[in-house]
Subunit: 325 residues, 2 copies
């Protein structure tokens, strides 16, 4: 049985702990959150504390951190944990490929982990699986890879309200543009996924670009946030593109999430030898998937050498069926 | 640049070496074969020798063994290599999950490798990727897995003649049955793939069965072996099934390879939470893919701890783009 300390008990952090117990995979050994209305309450038999170090007192195998997307905002938490030689799996999106935006911090955390015997990994359904790990695996059967195109096309109708808000559903063009300027609209991690794919496949990306635009409702739609008039945003389309020195596109990722999307799917198209055209019909549900990825990566990370890891340096992660019910 | 010693220079063994050089991934450091008409000839700048130990003299990173499907027939080669601490990737089908049929030999090779610092891995396109590694990866986003169905459906028209012979193409029912009794017809490794999937996903298989039958030509067909009259074998269908203690099917693998197959594809269907329905349209070509898998697994195996490895214990294998042309 895995004994995990859970840091960050928002909807996602709670879901990971709930799934840990529901799967029979393990137990909650500690619970940490800063929200005043949760501290002091009981969560899966543990009193929620705001004191990270105190929560590490009980015996445990690993720590789950589900706090922020921005690696800098998580850095002190990671330092505190790695100084104590902890094994840490986090949903921090920038941690998927930390050296893209924070090379010095990544080097610092790697050196710290190696010194103490700690381990750190960022994962999730996306980034973490559909637009990076799965495309890399798909090329295992290739003798050449010239270009990789990746699509994640989701129907946001069945997603939780914060997700619908995050993709700008219901907003008119002006409000959408304002939210875009604030930087609160985008899916975080697209260029991290691109960087992982390019690095692992030797695609030598010299220039990248990320674009974002609303997916406009072509008919009246309704979602949990309310009605969406024709012409307002039903969601978002983000495209990350990587070019090589010759000016050829070698990686392209398209993330599209909108209310009423007719044909949700995940797809990886490899221009290679042999070519690979892989599709997951209907796509993979994001809220379930991120919790699953976190839990399924704990044992592969525990089996890895100390250090800062990425999804391509740990052993193959699949469903962890140990003690499965 | 990888420097590899190649043991076994049949069509597949030669292809691996050819691809190594063509990809710019490395060089042939040694070449071993027992066929009298090849020994003493030059292959990628190296004289082919029948002396395995002598071929290890030149500096090299790893050894590729492409000799036999049966692990017992490869055992002395593996012993010789592991006694010298070599890192070995082999296309031996039974080596995909060696403890299924040869638990004592697997334990012996593992202990030997750990003592000397050697490493041993069995891989290929199938077994090795499409019906085992890929299905395991596909479940990484799952919080529950109840059953996995896997299909590999190939059009054998474009495969090499030995493959067409291996699947019984052109044979009438009597000749097909005779070849089946000889045991020379079947795809080797189906139950090894099943065992890997079941073990990794905790599916607790208590009983397995493997069936084999001809795919009969419904119209006149032609292949490189000659014409196929209506009613003769166009190929083979093999099904491996695994049941749990309650008598439920929890893993099912269907391998079908025949001349003129209309809709070749590879598919993984996971009855899980969330469900996953993954398809590679057109399927993955087998001859290219096995060579690619072998080469793409060399560096992941070199990065692993000493011992007998399987595809789920090495780091994520994708296309190895180091020095790619």
């Amino acid at each position: 049985m895995l004994r995990l300390v859970h840091v960050g008990l928002g909807p996602l952090g709670r879901r990971v702990a709930d799934d840990l117990v529901a799967r029979g995979l393990g137990q909650v050994a500690g619970a940490v959150d800063l929200a005043p209305n949760t501290v002091g309450t009981i969560f899966h038999g543990q009193m929620i504390t705001s004191d990270l170090v105190a929560a590490l007192d009980a015996p445990h195998h690993a720590v789950i951190v589900a706090t922020a997307s921005d690696l800098r905002r998580c850095a002190d938490t990671f330092r505190t944990l790695l100084e104590r030689g902890e094994t840490v799996v986090s949903t921090c999106e920038e941690l998927l490929w930390p050296k893209l935006r924070h090379p010095e911090l990544a080097a610092e955390l790697d050196a710290l982990a190696k010194r103490t015997g700690g381990r750190l990994l960022g994962t999730g359904i996306n980034p973490g699986f559909l637009m990076d790990t799965l495309p890399v695996v798909a090329t295992a059967a290739c003798n050449a890879v010239r270009r990789v195109d990746i699509w994640r096309v989701q129907d946001a109708t069945t997603r939780r309200v914060p997700f619908q808000q995050k993709i700008g559903a219901t907003l008119d063009r002006e409000a959408f543009a304002a939210r875009e300027r604030e930087g609160t609209l985008r899916h975080v991690g697209l260029l991290e996924s691109l960087a992982l794919v390019a690095a692992r496949l030797g695609l030598r990306v010299e220039r990248t670009e990320e674009t974002l635009e609303p997916v406009l409702a072509e008919r009246e739609l309704v979602c949990d946030l309310g009605p969406i008039p024709v012409g307002n945003a039903a969601g978002v389309r983000q495209v990350g593109t990587g070019w090589n020195a010759a000016g050829d596109v070698v990686v392209r990722l398209e993330f599209k999430a909108s209310i009423g999307e007719a044909e949700p799917h995940d797809r990886v198209l490899v221009d290679g030898d042999p070519p690979i055209d892989l599709t997951i019909a209907g796509g993979v549900h994001g809220d379930v998937g991120t919790s699953a990825m976190v839990l399924n990566c704990v044992r592969p990370l525990l089996d890895a050498a100390p250090g800062l890891h990425t999804m391509d340096t740990i052993r193959l992660a699949g469903f962890d069926g140990t003690n499965s019910r």
